[in-house]
Amino acid sequence: MLGISKRFGPVQANADVDLTVGRGTVHGIVGENGAGKSTLMSVLYGFYTSDSGSIKVFGQDATIRNAHEAIALGIGMVHQHFMLVETLTALENVMLGAEPHVLLHKAEALVRSRLLELMESTGLRVALDAQVSDLSVGDRQRLEILKALYRGAKVLILDEPTAVLTPQETEQLFGVLALLREQGTTILLITHKLKEVMRLCDRVTVMRAGRVVEEVAIADATIEGLAEAMVGRKVQMGRVGDSEKAPGAVLLQARGIHVRDLMKVVRLHALDIELRAGEIVGIAGVSGNGQSELLEVLSGLLAPVRGSLSVGGRQFEAGAWIDPRTARTLGVAHVPEDRHERAMVMSFAAWESAVLGYEWLPHYCRSGWMLHPEMRKSTADMMERFDVRPRDAQLQCSSFSGGNQQKLVLARELGQAPKVLLVGQPTRGVDIGAIEFIYGQLRAMRDAGCAVLVVSSELDEILALSDRVIVMNQGHVAGELPIDECNENTLGMLMIGGGNANASDRAKAAQVQKVAV
């Protein structure tokens, strides 16, 4: 791709971008949100046509006007949000739109034999007759890759492939990608996780503000260097500023929490947890082991079937559980895991979402009437303090980038000077620059005497923030460690269910160590 430019109104999404990818290599493209990675890939895949510049595929000049032409040229794309029909089987999804025979059962037999060959040679295994809705996220991703390969993809574009995967699934994926590279497939990996780039890629292109700022062979690159190139300044990502004071009084205590979901599956089992002033407690674990439910129970969104909670001088029992508003009045703030679904009303203007959950405060509401000027002023203050961009309180929430949405939510929750702060996935989908800022804010809350609980699926995040780590597995506390005893090895061990007792299980530990990298 040479000299690619693309402009959307006033926004120069790509400015004179050159990208050369060698055959049979894995090429990483990194950059913050809005750096132009996705636009560039969309030009390559035919969603957009560039304003200027040219594309050569395998040495031939190519014009790519739509996805069909891209596929014909051997370019396949695996989107971050999968493009699969959930009610069809895996096999039918692969066949869809590329049926090799008019009679479906003959077509299926043809596709099946071809797919079995592909699965054999690539190690991408998917249950072909399972309905897609029954497949795990990792299975679906493998299916997407299979689909692209089936259609003859020689160049595979993967957009943030690991964002939705567990560490184990990530590990499997990387194994497959390495194998594909050996077989001559060219892979373009779009990501903002630099560790993954360092592990898998041969070369990496760093983009910032629509331009290529750096292109290096992986041997010459360092994580720090890439991060600096992405953000444009030095960033501090690791662990800084340990708590100086010992944790203080217990601010929240939950005992014997037992949660069952609608299908009667036990999600939390007799769980005890204690949060102390001036301490960040990290909850680690493979996604789906009860961390989400724990956050919901403590914030009052979900009532357990058994258990008790003591917070803010009050005692709650199952059956008369705390509700979200009471939680807020008792100084429990909650930054939910799911920003889009829960933390904001996306169709509201920023100044309306900026009071969500606190709209009843006398500061915002007097005898039933919303005080718009005060709401707008508070929002402007929040945006100023947390550097939310653009600083336009009138803008609809959905128009902000993920990182800025998250900053606004944090500004709202932290702004009430809570005693207990519950945070789920504080930096999911957030740029490196903003991550640094968010970590700083969470540490500042701790230093101010707040009890902070952080749930994260990123082990690095847990290690960077926590003073004490609780590992969850299948709704249980699998273990609890002070930060000094935490590393990827000890935590990974607990995450897959191995307790301290069988720490000698070398094989498992080795596997987990790989997973955690």
């Binding site: 109104g9 006033p10 969603f47 957009y48 914030s299 009052g300 969104l301 509700d323 979200p324 508003r325 009471t326 939680a327 807020r328 909650h334 939910p336 799911d338 679904e341 829960r342 933390a343 904001m344 009303v345 996306m346 169709s347 509201f348 203007a349 920023a350 100044w351 309306e352 969500l356 959950g357 709209e359 009843w360 509401c365 039933g368 009437w369 919303m370 718009h372 653009p390 336009d392 309180a393 009138q394 803008l395 609809q396 128009s399």
Partner: protein, 377 residues
């Protein structure tokens, strides 16, 4: 994928006008196909609706009812509910208005009687909507289905009461005894007379002020009160509302209750303002027209008032056309209304990309303003 967003002013003003124009054009072609002159028809229609004070009175009389039913649909819609039951709630509202008038109008003075009729009418509408609301909130029965059912129940209930209990014995007409004068809302003819202005005799009555008041009240309720904030939060994102500590079930009850009360106010226009007695067919489809009105008015009170006047004009002007133009039946007017609902409601955004293309083209490459907040609308 490459659509440019439409500026807000274009979304609210230009697009509806374009949609209306396309609807009129399509209807014009139909009129032409059946051998009529579209220009003549539209001239008669507009003149019939706005050309005389008498025509205007009828237009505004129809519009008054549509404002009530349109607002009813809009309030429920902001709460994330599709209330198809405006028809039934309006029937019950009229029933409440009429029953209390039959019962007390002989003894109470107008200044007490009329507010009482208003309150009871709204209350009846509210209770009628509260049943489907309860079933939705606490039993999971879909409100669209139940409100449709409740339309039939309301209509049957009215017939039953009129035929078996309220009908004047010995009379052939299925209607109640007339109310005493204290239960009659002054007509515009009377009201303007008080101000010394000549105004023709028509069904147009002072309930129009109530309609305007209701529109203003709904605006302030939705965008300036905490209840309205909670309601809209629930309607836009139930999960976010739950996170904020808003009980979604309460919001369903609130949205539907208010919706039903607004629909119930139709009784003030039709029963207290015009008929002066209870009879059949005083709603006659206005509850359903309210859905179209609300769609076209983009669920905003101001838009609903404008859309109501448009639909009022179509009813009144359409009647004139059917009367004046030979061979042009009332059904052709229904066809025209159908086109307007189709283009302005169901297909409201079909033309949006083309309009955006033209608008953005005209504005050149000036920086398109980012989508301005939806706070007011």
């Amino acid at each position: 994928m490459t659509h440019q967003p439409l500026p807000r002013w274009a979304d609210l003003v230009v697009l509806p006008i374009v949609n209306l124009a396309v609807a009129l054009l399509a209807a014009g072609v139909m009129v032409w196909l059946v051998g009529q002159n579209p220009l003549e028809v539209i001239t008669v229609l507009v003149h019939g609706a706005f050309g005389t004070t008498r025509g205007l009175s009828y237009t505004l009389y129809y519009a008054t009812t549509f404002v009530f039913t349109g607002l009813a649909v809009a309030v429920a819609f902001h709460g994330g509910l599709f209330n198809i039951g405006g028809e039934g709630q309006a029937i019950l509202g009229g029933l409440g208005t009429g029953l209390v008038a039959l019962w007390l109008s002989a003894t109470l003075p107008a200044w007490l009687m009329l507010p009482l009729m208003l309150l009871v009418g709204a209350l009846f509408g509210m209770v009628w909507a509260a049943v489907p609301a309860y079933l939705q909130a606490y039993r999971g029965s879909h409100v669209v289905i139940t409100t449709i059912m409740f339309n039939f129940l309301a209509s049957s209930l009215l017939v039953y009461l009129l035929v078996n209990h309220l009908k004047v014995p010995g009379s052939m007409a299925v209607e109640s005894a007339p109310f005493a004068d204290s239960a009659k809302l002054p007509s515009m003819h009377t009201f303007m007379g008080w101000l010394g202005i000549e105004w023709p005799n028509s069904p147009f009555n002072t309930s129009v002020f109530l309609a305007v008041l209701a529109a203003v009240a709904v605006y302030f309720f939705l965008w300036h009160t905490r209840l309205g904030y909670d309601l809209r939060a629930t309607g836009s994102s139930a999960r976010a509302a739950a996170y904020a500590g808003i009980n979604p079930n309460h919001q369903v009850m609130l949205a539907m209750g208010l919706s039903g009360a607004l629909a119930g106010l139709v009784g003030m226009n039709e029963v207290a303002g015009v008929n002066g007695r209870l009879m059949l067919e005083y709603v006659s489809g206005a509850g359903f027209t309210g859905i179209a009105v609300s769609l076209m008015g983009r669920s905003h009170p101001f838009g609903i008032v404008l859309a109501s006047i448009l639909f009022g004009a179509l009813f009144q002007g359409g009647a004139e056309v059917a009367f004046e133009v030979r061979g042009f039946s009332r059904d052709m007017v229904v066809m025209l209304q159908g086109f307007i609902v189709l283009f302005s409601g169901a297909m409201a955004y079909v033309l949006a990309p083309s309009v955006a293309w033209v608008v953005n083209g005209l504005r050149g490459n000036r920086a398109p303003q980012a989508v301005k907040g939806a706070a007011h609308g």
